[in-house]
Assembly symmetry: C2
Homo-oligomer: 328 residues x 2
């Protein structure tokens, strides 16, 4: 459907901005909240109650490599990582707008595959593609902004964890980092880990489930469990105690850890980009089905780090800093 | 206020992502619609009725040059061009989220000046800086998404112009193009034109004024008056008739046209990036104070171009195509 108007052998320079936009936005599925979709100065959405919004930028060579990821994977990832932020507030994403920048010599086929991935993940997540901006740049850069609603549920912030709460997790951690480790060594397996690096499996819908269950705080695990739970602990003024015994080590992570001579718990505790959700609840009875209890919240002790693992400070790097180009 | 935590002699790599975010978002002014501002997974806004949203991307070397524009100008422009899209729907922008990508060696001072410009233009436009994402990239790339509301006014689309309507304009056209023409020749004057190229003067508030006055269609003039009114005419199935006698030629445009041997009407009719608003109204009595009637709407004649200038087709290029790197 996407290629009706244009030939995919061309470059973006040959088809031009307006044909590309038509190709990307043709035959979009209807969405009950969309009043005005692509094609005007801005889009309009029906909403009730507050709106939630967040932006994520993916840059070629920083967040993805064209030799490691298919164009469709980049499109899917761009949607998934952003919807995860709306989920982490307890919200439901309704629509996205996309800023797409690419070199003029980019093959149209790459852009159309990217758009197909974007649209496929929008369908997975139940969100509408509302519009966007396309422009020329030296590197492919994708900026996705999601708009979400609360459906009457309370917003769940980072700063509400209280001593006595339990900490629970839904979704995977360490898989994307394991995939990155093997891709970086020139391998393509374990395939499940590589696929997790290309497109995260965001637990869509679980953010609202947690909000309905009374989550006291919640966060999207993008930089690694320790780093992101550190944000929760610091903003809540508490200590989070994790128990490694609460985690199973999945086979692909075990395999990658063995092959790279590393600790599988380092992958699980510090690997980013899987976009699991971690939340705190008043008691274990509040934890929704499908979530795993991984620790508890205590008073912040003096000179104590925000997150303890089996009662001790984690030795090693907790997460990623973009400008420092690696682990901080 | 922005530089409290960090020294501006450093680069982004030296201060790191999180210090930069803290510096950009410290001491933000309160805004009545903001429930949750920067610092969580997403921001939350109180709204009533539909929300309007749009994204624009500015890329170094494509939309701005660091030797032609100050960092603060780039920040101001990024906000202004995006708020203009919300205005063009008849809406009022409430908040923005910003994706900011830059090389690790970018001076912190550039980023802070950019942020100061962003915040200054947010204050001009009455919008809140809700949050963002910062990341590393080869070129500075700024993506701004605005969220707006209708305040109970009807949304104004591009496709509602009807034969018999009058066409009216608020704001400037040709100024930014004149500025670009002189900057491209190595000059810095006329200063008013150069400043218009650096930061457009968007007629904030006039979109809602037009909606309240019953505008039948409206568009933001970003690609040039003929190109953008062409979108209105085509989507409405009408012809738009412009009268050059309706335009005054401002002194700076006269000066640039004379210096470059060009037609001042070409600047006015085809120059982009000023972000004026053009709208159609059922009659001249509906045109709000401060808007200038520049033409009328007629039935689309057979084989007629969408926009006629003094009754004839415009000879020349109507506007800009990003991937073709110039006039289309």
């Amino acid at each position: 459907m996407l290629v009706k108007a244009v030939s995919t052998n061309q470059t973006l320079a040959e088809v031009g901005e307006f044909s590309l936009i038509r190709a990307i936005t043709s035959d979009l599925p209807a969405h009950p909240s969309v009043q005005i979709g692509p094609g005007d100065d801005a889009a309009a959405l029906s909403v009730e109650g507050p709106v939630i919004t967040s932006v994520d930028v993916l840059v070629e060579g920083v967040h993805f490599r064209k030799d490691w990821s298919e164009a469709a994977d980049v499109g899917r990832k761009a949607v998934a990582v952003n919807v995860a932020d709306i989920e982490a507030m307890g919200g439901r994403a309704v629509g996205i707008v996309v800023g797409f920048s690419a070199p003029a010599e980019t093959p149209l086929s790459w852009a159309l595959d990217f758009a197909a991935g974007l649209r496929a993940e929008c369908a997975n997540a139940g969100v509408a593609l509302l519009g966007g901006d396309v422009t020329r740049a030296r590197d492919i850069t994708v900026s996705v902004t999601a708009i979400g609603v609360t459906d009457g549920l309370p917003l769940v912030r980072r700063d509400g964890a209280r001593p006595g709460d339990v900490v629970a997790l839904v979704g995977r951690t360490g898989w994307a980092a394991a995939g990155l480790a093997v891709l970086g060594r020139g391998f393509r397996s374990p395939r499940a880990a590589v696929e997790a690096q290309r497109v995260p499996q965001v637990p869509y819908g679980e953010g609202a489930v947690a909000a309905a269950a009374g989550a006291t705080s919640m966060i999207d695990i993008s930089d690694g469990l320790l780093a992101d739970l550190g944000h929760v602990a610091t903003s809540s003024g508490v200590t989070i105690q994790l128990r490694t015994a609460a985690f199973d080590i999945p086979d692909p992570l075990q395999a990658v850890a063995a092959a790279t001579g590393s600790d599988p718990y380092a992958l699980i505790l510090t690997g980013g980009e899987d976009h699991a959700l971690a939340a705190t609840f008043g008691s274990a009875e509040h934890v929704p089905h499908g979530w795993r209890v991984i620790g508890s919240v205590t008073e912040r002790g003096q000179d104590e780090p925000p997150v303890l693992v089996d009662g001790a400070a984690w030795e090693g790097t907790p997460g990623f800093d973009h400008f420092r180009g690696g682990r901080r």
